[in-house]
């Protein structure tokens, strides 16, 4: 069938600058570039280009520019190029349209409409360069009160606290499974989390035993496919996370194509090499909240009550009530993944149409847990579309204890959010297990880039806190007076628990 799909991008090569070194030919995994020996020229198949910028970045003479094909069709507000192309694609394939990364639609972000406060006159701002600024965060269940006795001049703690995670910055790396990404990326995340004093999440594909040494900084995930879940795996992590849902694809499972299942991945996931790894949509032993309670306590029993158990859900319409049930079921942490949360592969229609923005979910979950008097029983971790330290601090002010980042972490090590992770051909070597490209991620360099990102964001968070006259992050958490809204309706302000700027 002749494809009617237009090229999305054009490769513009400056022939005067091009030295025919063939770096672009070698770097591109989509076979966009090829060298014509007879005429000594590099040619491009524009239709293959996904604008990942790999060739642009690595071209030694800066000869390449990628140009967006802006006007393939006549301008139409309703029949956008995206709408037309999606239809043509489906008419040619008859399948579900796949995509990667988080929802890219403009109308679902609230971060830009939230503004932070700063101290002026009546209380002083604090200079983080000269005074301590504390952002350490503990995740886990906290008691209603402490019993402390005085014994011979010393205080003795009588209340035993549940196990806690210690974060030196309120930012963790979100779940990205082994198989969706290569060992090198997993190792980079693990090493950065360990170095900075935070946590990475194994995702649902198990943890390669070579990474167990970073287990003190790992949250190991138990998902519907139960890939790689065994007793040593559970013991290896600092915490366990039950994955119920994912912001990019609430309500559906996952599919790792067999081509990505190499030998090590197969061994870690405990499946045959080359077979598809299918995660069912629900966890088939959790059809209701009482089943969740059983799994939470099964995992706590399996690890002797030494590790906090997190339950991750996608942010959906009834998140507040669901979160309340999760806390009452015994979870120590509730992780919520908003509609802009990322994925390696998801049906496009689900990614762009299912779920709710994380900002609204944090606000309503935090408020509900307070109204029910159980906010201290679990920590809230927010995920899905956090792009900067500004987003982090706003999430915390709305009521989150900490955030998960995944896209931001991958961007730090090369990702350009081209949204083609599902092809398994990632030219940056991130969303690919093909050894030829996976080795493009050097864990020494990538972990350094990740540590730098955590450090930069942490410094910025301290700067903003100091400006507000707050020197400990717990005074910002859930402190909604430190935020104001702009361009929001009364209903949006009510749900966010915020006043309008100027009010």
């Amino acid at each position: 069938m002749k494809s009617y799909m237009p090229s999305e991008y054009f490769v513009d090569r400056d022939e005067e600058k091009c030295i025919r070194c063939k770096v672009c030919v070698n770097q591109c995994t989509y076979e966009t570039h090829s060298y014509d020996e007879e005429e000594d020229v590099i040619r491009s198949k524009d239709e293959n280009c996904v604008n990942c910028q790999r060739c642009v970045t690595f071209c030694p003479t800066k000869a390449i520019s990628i140009i967006k094909n802006d006007s393939p069709y006549r301008y139409n507000v309703n029949w956008t190029p995206e709408a037309i192309k999606d239809i043509k694609k489906q008419a040619e394939t008859g399948g579900i349209l796949l995509t990667g990364m988080g929802c890219d639609k403009p109308f679902l972000s609230y971060w830009e409409r939230l503004l932070l406060n700063a101290s002026q006159v009546t209380n002083p701002s604090i200079d983080p360069l000269r005074e301590p600024m504390e952002i350490r965060t503990y995740l886990g269940s906290k008691p209603d009160k402490l019993e402390i006795e005085l014994d011979n001049g010393d205080f003795v703690l009588k209340t035993k606290l549940s196990p806690q995670l210690t974060l030196e910055t309120p930012i963790m790396f979100s779940a990205i499974s082994y198989g969706a990404i290569s060992l090198n990326v997993h190792e980079s995340l693990a090493r950065a989390a360990t170095e900075y004093g935070t946590y990475f999440n194994s995702g649902e594909g198990g943890l390669d035993p070579r990474l167990y040494k970073y287990g003190n900084h790992a949250i190991v995930q138990v998902a519907s496919g139960r890939f790689g879940v065994h007793s040593r795996y559970l013991q290896s992590g600092a915490a366990i996370e039950i994955k119920i849902g994912q912001g990019a694809k609430p309500g559906i499972g996952g599919h790792l194509p067999g081509e990505k299942v190499t030998e090590n991945i197969a061994r870690t996931r405990m499946i045959p090499v080359g077979t598809d790894a299918l995660s069912p949509a629900p966890q088939h032993d959790i059809y209701s909240i009482e089943d969740l309670r059983q799994l939470i306590y099964a995992l706590k029993e399996a690890t002797d009550y030494t590790k906090p158990v997190s339950v991750k859900i996608a942010a959906v319409h009834n998140s507040a009530a669901i979160a309340s049930g999760i806390v009452r079921a015994g979870a120590d942490i509730v992780a919520i993944d908003g509609v802009r949360g990322s994925t390696g592969a998801a049906p496009k229609v689900i990614r762009d149409n299912v779920g709710i923005p994380i900002e609204l979910a944090i606000a309503s979950v935090d408020q509900r847990l307070r109204e029910e008097g159980i906010r201290n029983k679990a920590s809230i971790v927010a995920a899905g579309g956090i792009r900067s330290s500004g987003d982090v601090i706003k999430a915390i002010a709305l009521g989150a204890d900490a955030v998960y980042i995944a896209t931001a972490a991958l961007v730090a090590i090369g990702c350009t959010v081209c949204q083609k992770c599902y092809t398994g051909k990632c030219p940056w070597g991130i969303a690919s297990t093909d050894p030829w490209v996976a080795k493009r991620i050097n864990p020494d360099i990538a972990s350094q880039r990740l540590t730098n990102l955590l450090r930069g964001w942490s410094l910025e968070i301290k700067d903003m806190m100091g400006g507000m006259g707050i020197n400990a992050i717990e005074s910002l958490r859930g402190n909604r007076l430190s935020l104001r809204g702009v361009g929001l309706t009364d209903t949006e302000l009510r749900i966010l628990g915020l006043k309008m700027a100027g009010d």
């Binding site: 010393d154 307070r370 008097g373 507000m468 707050i470 717990e474 958490r477 402190n479």
Partner: protein, 384 residues
């Protein structure tokens, strides 16, 4: 719920612009006889008047302990009325829940104060058969909450035994004049002069703030108010006054009265040591102070404050953890002084046995019968 002082329709008066909280600067002063001997208003009033420039005449007040020895077993309610109707209604409410032992209009005299309300004093005893399983204190608080909300024009601003709060709109020395404080004697006097930036000043909004016999005078603005308030709301407190002093009072009520934690630990909840300081403690103490911050992090009072808190037999001074507001302390014979400025202490007691500026987060604790004033500290102990 309990532990709550709620006021309904007075919102408009106390915070007409619906600001997030009360923005105010202030002067505070506290004077205590450590033997529990009572003394007159002369020195406390001179001392707070000496800090006249720290207030702007929109609020002044005093809390005095040991003033009603003849009625020491009864709750002494001081009530402001904005209308005769409110008094009639409140009298009925009081009569239904309490045996009124004695009541009278508060003695006042003309003074340089603005629009004084009618102020009444009651000595009451709760009708014990009505407790219904609550503690007596919670019962009293429930009744106070009802009085303070049902008319919107009646406000109980003092409710402890053998103590009394006197406060209103004016400079503190004028409030002392108005309430004839020269006629009273007490063993603790705490005093406040106010500089609000956003409230016109209404009589109930002046300091001290009070629940039962707990009082707080406060200088500062809590940057953490938004979360302090939401945490306390989880425990049934309704923070309707929109002042940060209110959350301090409720925090003391929750931690000390309801959860029975000692002030030595409560001060480390409100103004905790840094994580780096905690890590330098002995192993067992690390666990205690770490658990305090983990559990009560939402009650960390972040931002500038200095406070003098008092209840029966005890006066406590405390600063925020990095001392962003002034607080000085002095000892002379049986007297403990706490003040925003040293000058006020030196005015009433030029010679002191000891004078010091307490470090941030380190409480100064004066207890009746205890000549050595406790200043529990973590880091400084090692240094000293």
């Amino acid at each position: 719920m309990f532990g709550v002082l709620v006021m309904g329709h007075q919102d408009v008066m106390r915070n007409p612009f619906n600001d997030d909280k009360d923005f105010a600067g202030c002067s505070i002063f506290g004077m205590m006889n450590l033997e529990g001997k009572r003394f007159s208003s002369k020195d406390p009033v001179r001392a707070i008047a000496n800090m006249h420039e720290r207030g702007n005449g929109l609020g002044g007040g005093f809390a005095v302990y040991g003033i009603y020895p003849d009625f020491k077993d009864y709750y002494a309610f001081h009530v402001m009325y904005l209308s005769k109707d409110a008094k009639e209604r409140t009298d009925r409410t009081l009569a239904s829940g309490f045996n009124i032992i004695y009541d009278e209009e508060m003695q006042t005299k003309p003074a340089n104060v603005r629009d004084p309300p009618l102020v009444w004093r009651y000595f009451v005893q709760p009708k014990t058969r009505l407790f219904e399983g609550n503690s007596e204190e919670d019962y009293v608080i429930q009744k106070l909450m009802r009085i303070n909300t049902e008319t919107g024009k009646a406000f109980v601003f003092s409710s402890g035994k053998n103590m009394g709060v006197f406060k209103g709109v004016g400079f503190p020395e004028d409030i002392a004049d108005f309430f004839c404080l020269e006629d009273y004697e007490g063993y603790i006097w705490t005093c406040h002069g106010r500089f609000p930036t956003n409230t016109p000043g209404w009589w109930g909004g002046a300091h001290p703030f009070n629940i039962l016999d707990w009082t707080v005078v406060h200088n500062g603005e809590l940057s953490s108010y938004g979360i302090n308030r939401r945490y306390l709301e989880m425990y049934g407190y309704k923070c309707t006054m929109q002042t940060d002093t209110e959350v301090l009072a409720y925090a003391f009520d929750l931690l000390m009265r309801r959860q029975r934690l000692p002030i030595e630990l409560v001060s480390k909840i409100l103004a905790p040591p840094l994580w780096s300081e905690i890590e330098r403690l002995e192993q067992g103490q690390i666990e205690v102070f770490k658990a305090l911050r983990q559990t009560y992090g939402s009650l960390l009072m972040n931002g500038p404050f200095s406070i003098v808190v008092a209840h029966e037999g005890e006066m406590i001074g405390l600063n925020d953890r990095i001392k962003l507001r002034p607080l000085s302390a002095g000892l002379r014979d049986d007297f403990l002084y706490l003040s925003s400025e040293e000058s006020s202490i030196r005015l009433v007691s030029p010679q002191l046995d000891k004078y010091w500026n307490p470090r941030g987060g380190e409480p100064v604790i004066g207890r009746v019968g205890c000549r050595s004033v406790a200043t529990p500290s973590l880091a400084s102990e090692a240094e000293q």
